[in-house]
Structures are given as structure tokens and as C-alpha cells.
């Protein structure tokens, strides 16, 4: 065993990268859930974003266009969910699960011609002076732009929810849609927008995997990350910064367990592999003392009956 081989600065830097796809998807889902919509189709939207982003990046040669396409792809799939749940008033849990099934299939169909191709490179930001600082430079300033965009999104969502009128309306719709409706807010329209935002973010998260983290296209490559993102939203009790914290915690434990293995720590590997999930449960239990609860209308069907 040689724990000195683990470099804490590098560990921090990698956990931020490992956490980014989950973070992107989770922050989108947070907005949807704050508006009272529970979309379990995150995994399906992520994988669709992964292939849309990949295909467009390969065709155009531009990762930025790829990310834009991923957001659009995720949003289009989310639109399907919006139609089902907001227009056809279908059950949200079942619709979300169906969306995941559909997205996995659809992405595989689109991706048939993209196996074994290398996407254009997405360069790391090279910040001159800051990036060269010891420790801090690598941890804070040595990443790719998407990682910062993800964090900026968290901040943006926080500001929106906390300080803006739009955020207030969104929360009102999520807490009590009948009251919000009575006040003259367009509940369905607001929810559809929130769902689309969630889809776009999930798409970005998927594309981060297919364009930055892995980068390649293979069927089913998101491998369950979408579910973790869903868990994170509740984990973060619907608060943006807590979601960020949760994502880093989860990413951190994942990376740490690999680090411990490589360093030869003699804990049975399967227990190490379980650890991110067990720690999540543990933190959930601790956090449940905190009484912040889900948006009151979460998952409920809204119908404006006169």
C-alpha cells in the first residue's frame, strides 16, 4: 500500500471532471422539479444528447456546435415528455421511464454510423498565469470550458430561483399550481419551459461524456449516470449549491475508490465499488434531519378546471 501516490490536488481536479456530467443533468432536473415536474427520463435525454452532440461535432468539426446540438437534442426529447405530461396529462413517473427506454433506442439508431470515430478535440482552457500556480492552478484553472459553464449554470439557476421574479413564479408553480393558476400564471407553459431546460442540460451532460470525458460514441455509454443525477437533486434537497456539493462528493468518492485500488489498499474491491452509493444513503439520512422538502406539487398532474 502506498497512499503517498495519491496526489490530493490531482484528485480534486479529477473529481471535478468526473462530476460534471452528473452536475449538468442534475441542475436541469432541479429546475424541472422546482416547477413541479418529476422527469425520470434523464438517462434517455442524456444519451440522446451524447449522440446528437457527438454526431454534430464530428460532422461540423466543432465541439461547440456539438454541445449546442446536444442541448437541442435533449430538449427535443424533453418536448416529447412535455407533450405527454402537460398536454396529455399522463403520469410523470411512467412517462419518464418510457422516455429513457425510447432515448436509449433512438440514440443507438442515430449512432449506427458513428462507432469507432474520434471526435474533434475540445481543448482545455489555457489560462496563462493562473493556470501555472502550484496546486490551485491545476485544480481551479486547468479544465475545459464546459466544466466552468456547468458551474456557471449552477450559479445562474441559484440567482434565478432566489432573486428573480421568474424564479419566484417557477417556485410558485411548483409549490401550488392551483394557486399559481388562480393568480393568472400560465402553469403549463412555465412547466414546459422548465422541462425543455432540463432536457437541454441533460443533453449537455451526455455530450460532456461523449465529447470530453471518454470521448467516443458507444451505445448505452452513459451507463446509468442519469439515475445518479436524479438522486442528486433530492440529495441536494432542491438547492443548486447543495447539488454541486453532492455531485462533487459523488464524483470524489468514485475517483477516490479507484485511487485507493491503484494504491493497493486491501479493502475488497466490490465494497469499494459500493461506497459511492452507501455514502450517498448515509448523507441522505443525515440530511433528512433538515426539513427542507420537495416542491409540494412535484409529480402531480395539473388540470385547469374552472
Amino acid at each position: 500500500m502506498d497512499l503517498s501516490a495519491i496526489n490530493p490536488a490531482l484528485l480534486l481536479a479529477s473529481l471535478m471532471v468526473a462530476a460534471t456530467p452528473i452536475l449538468l443533468a442534475a441542475i436541469g432536473e432541479l429546475v424541472a422539479e422546482r416547477s413541479g415536474v418529476l422527469n425520470l427520463g434523464v438517462e434517455g435525454m442524456m444519451i440522446t444528447g451524447a449522440i446528437c452532440g457527438f454526431a454534430i461535432a464530428v460532422e461540423t468539426g466543432s465541439p461547440w456546435l456539438g454541445f449546442a446540438g446536444a442541448a437541442a437534442g435533449g430538449a427535443v426529447l424533453a418536448l416529447l415528455f412535455a407533450l405527454l405530461t402537460q398536454v396529455a396529462l399522463a403520469n410523470q413517473v411512467a412517462s419518464g421511464l418510457a422516455l429513457t427506454l425510447f432515448g436509449l433506442g433512438l440514440s443507438a439508431l442515430i449512432g449506427q454510423g458513428y462507432v469507432g470515430i474520434k471526435p474533434p478535440k475540445f481543448a482545455r482552457l489555457d489560462i496563462p498565469v493562473l493556470g501555472d500556480l502550484p496546486v490551485v492552478g491545476r485544480v481551479l484553472f486547468g479544465h475545459d470550458p464546459m466544466l466552468y459553464i456547468a458551474i456557471a449554470l449552477v450559479a445562474g439557476v441559484w440567482i434565478l430561483l432566489r432573486f428573480s421574479r421568474a424564479g419566484l413564479i417557477l417556485r410558485a408553480v411548483g409549490e401550488n399550481h392551483d394557486a399559481a393558476h388562480a393568480l393568472g400564471y400560465k402553469v403549463v407553459r412555465i412547466r414546459i419551459l422548465a422541462i425543455l431546460f432540463g432536457g437541454a442540460c441533460a443533453g449537455l451532460g451526455g455530450a460532456y461524456i461523449s465529447l470530453v470525458r471518454v470521448p467516443q460514441w458507444t451505445e448505452g455509454m452513459t451507463a446509468g449516470v442519469g439515475w445518479i443525477a436524479l438522486a442528486l437533486v433530492v440529495f441536494g434537497s432542491w438547492k443548486p449549491w447543495r447539488v454541486l456539493l453532492g455531485a462533487w462528493l459523488f464524483g470524489g468518492i468514485t475517483v477516490l475508490q479507484l485511487n485507493l485500488q491503484a494504491a493497493g489498499v486491501a479493502i475488497p474491491v466490490e465494497y469499494l465499488a459500493m461506497s459511492p452509493y452507501l455514502v450517498t444513503i448515509l448523507v441522505l439520512v443525515i440530511l433528512s434531519a433538515d426539513k427542507s422538502r420537495a416542491p409540494a406539487s412535484l409529480g402531480k398532474i395539473f388540470h385547469a378546471s374552472q
Binding site: A5, S14, G116, K118, W217, T218, N259, A262
Partner: protein, 358 residues
């Protein structure tokens, strides 16, 4: 209701006896895959071999395949269905299909079955596998020669004999050319999760590894190596040639095509017999991808020499003297490991410091 089902069952049993007769002279060949053909790795290569069969025999064969079949009852149903539809030969391409294949083979004595990487045979059930560890020996040699930090990272899926055999083989040959080399081993505990493979590769690189070996199918570790700059890696299952201008110095390619063509041919000729094939570099089932210029010429020559010696049978990668990890003697000087031990390998050889997960 029950009575009619029984009747149908009886009719079915009759149908099974005759159903296998091909209606026309076309050989019908079925393939069942454990993953999607778009996985770019294991299943992809099996499907490439299926396409090679089609190309070779043209309209003398008709191939069908079903992808992403879970093991267990689903696999058995898919194979039964292929047999009912008149398949003459069925390739079950994953270890997990073993018992399902045995069961189906029992039900259809006239249909031929081929099961990859298993160990159960029958008069109409043959098994085949590739000696990937031969390719690992070459990778180990290159790794041992090229590492400067003397740390080689190895990403494994699960601690099963197939993976352990490759690790030992790579380690033995790395040590032969570089007595100071150390292996750092990370088990992903998944067959397929590209993001996790990327993380694992990064962790190994951060802990000083400058050569990454992988027993997982995605290119994620190669991308991580490329991002790190001065790290090399290898293609796994497929050539992964898209990284040839970067970290990928050579590769192990699963080339099932020659075997599939041979077996289909045997069915067409009526000469098919059950067999137990464990083929390696010499038979072309394990292919070594082109060694790039990043490898110094003398190392490349050394690697190619090792490849030729293995291919000709002059040298076996598991030749004594070798001890097990705890120091107990395993193979004496010049002794060659028997296939039975290799097939069930569940121990590391001496020198590997990592502990085998229990």
C-alpha cells in the same frame, strides 16, 4: 387450456425433431450477441466476422443475428427461435450463454452450436476461444521496455480467469525486460462503463503510470493517455487505429473471421464435428495491430520476434520457472503451463504486489 397447451407441446417436440432440416440448400447461421453491435469492441468484432462469413459465401449462407441478448432464459429463447426457424449453425458469442446453449443443444440434436469462451461441449456443441494472453505477452514486453517511471497501469473488468491470465502474461514479459517494473491494478467491476474506464486510466496516470493496459473495450483509456501527453496505451478487442497517431502503440484484435468461415464451411460440406478450439496468434484468431513508430526500432524488432516465436509455437508465454504470488513454486525451469490451469487461473504470479480481490 392446459390440455391444448400439452397438445401444442407435443406437436412442438415433434417439430423440433424435424424443424432443423434446412428447407433449401442455403446454410442458415445464427449469431447471438451479448452487447450491441455498436459497442465498438467485443460484439462489434463478432459482427465483423459474421460479415466476413457473408462476404465469403455470398448467397450460399443466410446469417441472422440478435444483439443485446441477456444471458439466461432470454438467450435460450433466442437460440431456440433460431433453431425453429431452420438454423443449421448457431454461434453463442459470450461466456454467459453457456448453460442456455447446452440446454438448447440438447433440444435440437441436428443443429450445430458453437459457444465462445466456455468449457461445456456436446456432440453438437463445440467451443472456441482465443489465447489473448499471447498478445498480452507482447504488450507486456513493450510496456516493460518503454516505461520510464517503471509503473504500468492495468485496468481490469472483473477478476475472472480470462482477465487474470492476461495480467500475468503481461507482467511476466514486462519483468523479463525490466526487473524494476511494477503493475498497478484497478478493477472497474463492470463490463462496460466508458466514463469509469476514463476515470480509472486517469487515476493510474496520476499515480505515475506511463503505460496503460486495459481489459475493457472502450477507447476512454487511450483518450486519457493522449490528454496526459507522455503516456502510451494499447488497442483492445478492436485495432483502435484512430489513436495510432497518438498513444496507441499496438493492439490486440479479436479476429473471429477465419474460425467462423472454417466452421460454416464445415457445415456446408457436412464435415462439422464438435471440437474444442483454443487458438492464438499462430492461427490468426489473435491479431496484433501494427506497431507504431513511437516504439523504438529495436523494441519493435524484439516484439515482432516474440510474436513470431509465439506464433510458430517455439515459445509459450507461460514457460517456467514461475512462482505464484506467495512464492510457492508453480512451473519448473522450462515447464509449460497446461491449458487446464490456464483456463481456470485465479492467482497472480510472483512479483505482482496487488492483492487478488476475494
Amino acid at each position: 387450456m392446459k390440455f391444448t397447451s400439452l397438445l401444442v407441446g407435443g406437436a412442438l417436440a415433434l417439430g423440433m425433431a424435424t424443424g432443423a432440416m434446412a428447407q433449401d440448400d442455403k446454410a442458415k447461421v445464427g449469431f447471438i450477441y451479448v452487447g450491441p453491435i455498436g459497442d465498438g469492441g467485443y460484439t462489434f468484432e463478432h459482427d465483423q466476422a459474421r460479415k466476413a462469413v457473408v462476404e465469403k459465401f455470398g448467397d450460399k449462407v443466410e446469417t441472422t443475428y440478435v444483439e443485446s441478448v441477456p444471458e439466461g432464459p432470454d438467450a435460450e429463447r433466442v437460440m431456440t427461435q433460431m433453431a425453429l426457424n431452420g438454423a443449421d449453425l448457431i454461434f453463442a458469442t459470450s461466456f454467459g450463454f453457456m448453460d442456455a446453449t447446452v440446454n438448447t443443444a440438447k433440444k435440437f440434436p441436428d443443429v450445430k452450436f458453437e459457444h465462445a469462451t466456455g468449457y461445456k461441449t456436446a456432440p453438437n456443441l463445440a467451443i472456441y476461444n482465443a489465447r489473448f494472453y499471447e498478445g498480452r505477452a507482447i504488450q507486456g514486453l513493450i510496456a516493460g521496455e518503454m516505461t520510464e517511471s517503471n509503473i504500468v497501469g492495468y485496468i481490469g473488468s472483473y477478476p475472472i480467469p480470462e482477465v487474470i491470465r492476461g495480467m500475468n502474461s503481461a507482467f511476466i514479459h514486462a519483468r523479463k525486460v525490466n526487473p524494476d517494473v511494477q503493475f498497478k491494478i484497478v478493477w472497474a467491476y463492470t463490463w462496460f462503463d466508458p466514463a469509469k474506464e476514463a476515470d480509472a486510466a486517469k487515476v493510474l496516470i496520476e499515480q505515475g503510470a506511463d503505460v496503460i493496459l486495459q481489459h475493457t473495450d472502450s477507447t476512454a483509456p487511450l483518450a486519457a493517455a493522449e490528454a496526459a501527453g507522455n503516456v502510451i496505451g494499447f488497442g483492445q478487442a478492436s485495432d483502435m487505429g484512430e489513436y495510432a497517431d497518438g498513444p496507441r502503440v499496438t493492439s490486440i484484435i479479436d479476429n473471429w473471421a477465419p474460425y467462423y468461415i472454417e466452421r460454416v464451411n464445415a457445415v456446408i460440406d457436412g464435415t462439422w464435428e464438435t471440437s474444442d478450439t483454443w487458438a492464438g496468434i499462430g492461427d490468426g484468431m489473435v491479431e496484433i495491430g501494427e506497431i507504431t513508430d513511437r516504439v523504438p526500432a529495436e523494441v519493435k524488432a524484439e516484439a515482432l520476434e516474440l510474436k513470431d516465436k509465439i506464433a510458430s509455437g517455439e515459445y509459450h508465454p507461460y514457460t517456467g520457472p514461475l512462482n505464484k504470488q506467495d512464492g510457492t513454486p508453480w512451473l519448473a525451469e522450462g515447464e509449460i503451463a497446461d491449458d487446464q490451469t490456464l483456463l481456470g487461473m485465479d492467482f497472480f504470479v510472483e512479483g505482482i504486489t496487488a492483492e487478488m480481490p476475494k
